[in-house]
Symmetry: C2
Subunit: 569 residues, 2 copies
């Protein structure tokens, strides 16, 4: 509460003075009681001062026939994944009604450590939304990673008193938690009693007990209702994820509805959602809409999008509902079936005219994060024998299969083709010259290569193609321009999206980024990438050593299930 | 979580070492999912390490056929009201399954300020239960009170970092909140974002909006479901109260059940419950039992007694459920209909052998809190006219009615009889010599007087009787012995319960206190007090200026509805 102005606000609450603004006659969604009540809501200085028909405002907005909801909350989001600046993303997503973001700046921290986190905090300080940050817990995500920085418990301490820092971010290294590794224990203890975001895909039984013992309070990786319920039984809060790649909402929501389970303990999150998908289908409003379409009561879906998340993160004294003393963050909906967003307010102000102002200085070190050597042609050679371990793509998923196959070869070296692509991951943070090479089945690219410095979680330079020359050209181009995506065919640079900020984000704005990305994706499909594969997303995940089954890093192929390298270079 | 021992505990959670203790085969009540699941629970060093059939313990307790619940929580309790020391009370109530107490030491603070609060904290530091303290917010409860100490925002600051201090205690002076009085605003701001206990009997409409605006997070004064729901709609958490005097459970629980309202946002509390009632019917277990008898699902009643309260006070990372990492506070029940308590565990240890050890030194200033002058006979004179304002007792309630009547008189002064008793409230903290005198209808005492230094909220010395001589004797006796209750008849001291600690509490133990109180109450009824009136309880509330309608203080009769004195002396 804004106690500086309490005397004035209390006077208005008592009805002895007019409020600045009254939303009159709307159907107000009450997330506490589950009722929808036609009444008015009075707001002054961004705070809700009273609810009731008899409040009078200096300015009034008639929303008769419409529904007034609390602003939506994204329970877990990596802002970097959209490739826009954080403020750019918020500017887009807030128009869908998402007025609060629980952000894990895991990618920025993996490239630039505390400087990356500070960038996310600074860049979102003045957006028309509430942006909270969880401290990235796995930087690097595993000890074997070649990432940009180490971000440890000691460095986290200076963030403990920051009111925008709520707890510990997605603890991907669940093995370290379960085995009580000392470094991890130090981070866990630092946030004792605070929210700790989980990441426990398929973790079950005693291992899950050990993970929860550590005080991990939520999980967003569950794909089925059964998996969700095992976690709920141990007290975990569940963020039902509906992003660009991972879409778990339908199966979980249908499970909740069919079993009659209370939605207490459930929220929504996007985790990673690209801007084009936000434009096409929406953000958290899309989760609400889809949950209702799956049979959930509208008020329950709205609870998952608002108060449940606020309460989990200890924000319910500030936001997440329509009640006196809370922020006037509202979504006005035309209806509760299509969940059509009519208007969005943050602290009582319409968000639509907002345009991000923040600019990262041209001289910032965050614009110079390519610290790598040119790749020598022989570094792309992959020696093969009778059979080789290969990464098999599973359409529409980011998990891969670990297979063995006889690869096409010449002089003992792999020769890629339309069936088996070559992939290389090039260390780009510390000039180590490390390059890991492998083979991928199912990508299908012909006569060219695609490269990216968005490459979870260490964000080295990943390049995939059917010939070494195009792969080398693509890699070298990104090295020179400071990172991004590029597509090369027949020795020519066809499309490039520069991502000058940490090699992860562009400040060129959505339209520029989007049109070039779309052209690149279309060209990739033209070059043979199957239509049920998202070429750029997939390329960004080949190096992610915390997701099964087989991955590739600058040190070679990594077997996630065994947690060991297959071949070290 | 106990991160000092995390390495060891995690090993046991993984099943690689035996836990200290396993509760085997019970029906475990899961307050997250609402399920009851037959399984085992492993405990080490007071912490739950894992849940599942395959855990093995060095020591095992077979609870097959029984129900394992999280320890119960009393959401709001004034420990002083039982007249035992805090530790004595906990020793009794914990056997009923209440392992956590949210305590408001309002009475102790009104007599002895911060010293009184420190006494409650110290006295309960080593009990076999979790005792948390809310900072008394209304000391004095109104500016017109003659209490012992002022406890203001400045003095509260040194408690802000105490992990056992959770927020601001019962804000009785709702008028000060609604009108944003500066002293009150300072206290409210100090606990911004933390729980703030409410006290808003009958507060409604715009006044209630203003009260909630201030961040008051809960209320335990609601008597009806309709009143409850108005508060729930504004986001208040509801403690359903079932104490000795005020009993609101049945009407509220029936309302919840009949309307199908979720129990999220509801808890139980006792507020004030005497030890004899705890012995006769139980404590929070009684609330659970009664709620089930009113038609509530057992799991929902248990949620109200456990996780809902824990979550409201931000304790859910430590207690309130059976989950890994939480304290092993358990109630073992024989059944879910009678809710028969079989055993109680705090941090994995059976609480039944516990006996309080703490002793307040004989020289403590808390044992010398009678600072009053002997009453002169003429101070008890009450001049009366044609009609006088009188306090009318309403059986079974603490609210009184404000009536006018022609009182029996001689020489212009009131002469009490069996119809109209005389009451006097004597200031006892600062030797001011103030004595307020009034007339009470419905108490019925004949041939004697009863006096008490337990006299909410300022705890002056209240005495009621039908003749001045016995009243003077009773008052003088309590002044000499340092406070307590005493009953006098025909010039003789018949029964006395000394309450040497602040004039509020005895360290003589339950049996001594109880037998003498029972004798005193029986004698009072014999002397004419109707059977449907609790003489000692009622005597303790005549001076309570925050409860309607007419009250008596050392400064005279006080009209609570008008918030003003009728006659100042």
């Amino acid at each position: 509460m804004d106690f500086q102005n309490f005397f004035e606000l209390a006077k208005e609450a008592r009805g002895e003075a007019k409020a600045e603004l009254v939303f009159r006659g709307g159907n107000v969604v009450n997330v506490f009681t589950g009722e929808i009540i036609q009444t008015s809501v009075a707001v002054t200085k961004g705070t809700i001062v009273g609810i009731g028909d008899r409040y009078v405002g200096k300015h009034e907005i008639d929303i008769s026939g419409k529904y007034l909801c609390p602003g939506f909350i994204d329970g877990h989001i990596h802002l970097e994944s959209t490739m826009l600046t954080p403020a750019d993303l918020v500017e887009q997503a807030v128009k869908c009604g998402t007025t609060t973001y629980i952000v894990d700046p895991h990618e920025a921290a993996n490239v630039s450590g505390a400087d990356g986190i500070d960038y996310i905090l600074d860049n979102t300080a003045d957006v028309p939304a509430n942006v909270y940050v969880m401290m990235p817990s796995c930087v690097p995500s595993l000890p074997i990673e070649d990432n940009g920085c180490v971000f440890d418990a000691e460095q986290m301490k200076r963030y403990l008193d920051n009111p925008r820092v709520l707890g510990l971010g997605e603890v991907m290294d669940y093995t370290a938690v379960i085995n009580a590794a000392p470094d991890m224990t130090e981070k866990l203890a630092l946030f004792d009693g605070k929210p700790k975001d989980g990441h426990a895909p398929g973790v079950s039984g005693k291992a899950l007990n050990a993970y929860v013992l550590a005080g991990i309070t939520n999980d967003h990786e569950s794909a089925s209702y059964e998996e969700v319920m095992e976690k709920r039984r141990l007290g975990m809060h569940i963020h039902v994820r509906e992003g660009s790649a991972a879409r778990n909402l339908e199966s979980i929501v249908r499970g909740i509805v069919q079993s009659g389970q209370s939605v207490e303990g459930f929220s929504f999150c996007t985790d990673d959602k690209h801007i084009e998908d936000i434009h096409a289908e929406g953000h958290i409003d899309h989760c609400v809409r889809k949950a209702i379409a799956c049979g959930m009561k509208p008020v329950d879906a709205i609870r998952m999008a608002t108060i449940n998340t606020a309460r989990h993160y200890g924000l319910h004294h500030q936001l997440g509902a329509i009640a006196p003393g809370l922020q006037a963050d509202f979504v006005v909906l035309d209806d509760l079936e299509q969940v059509t967003v009519h208007a969005v307010y943050h602290k009582g102000r319409d968000v639509s005219p907002f345009h991000a102002q923040y600019e990262l200085p041209q001289g910032s070190p965050l614009r110079r994060t390519m610290h790598s050597l040119p790749v020598r042609p022989e570094q792309l050679n992959l020696p093969v024998g009778e059979t080789s371990d290969i990464i098999r793509i599973i359409p529409s998923q980011i998990v891969t299969a670990h297979e063995t196959a006889r690869l096409p070869q010449e002089n003992g070296f792999f020769v890629p083709d339309g069936t088996y692509s070559k992939i290389a991951v090039i260390e780009r943070h510390h000039n180590t010259g490390r390059v890991g090479v492998g083979a991928v089945a199912g990508f299908g690219i012909r006569n060219g290569a695609i490269a990216s410095t968005v490459s979870h979680d260490s964000h080295n330079l990943s390049v995939i193609g059917d010939n070494d020359a195009d792969m080398l050209l693509a890699a070298e181009h990104l090295r020179k321009i400071g990172g991004g995506y590029t597509l090369v065919s027949g020795g020519k640079l066809l499309h490039t999206v520069p991502l000058p900020i940490m090699g992860l984000m562009s400040d060129a704005g959505f339209d520029t980024v989007q049109s070039e990305l779309a052209a690149m994706i279309a060209k990739a499909h033209e070059m043979g990438v199957p239509e049920d594969i998202a070429p750029l997303t997939l390329l960004s995940f080949f190096a992610l050593t915390v997701i099964p089954a087989l991955r590739i890093t600058p040190r070679g192929l990594f077997d996630v299930e065994q947690m060991r390298f297959i071949a070290c270079k």
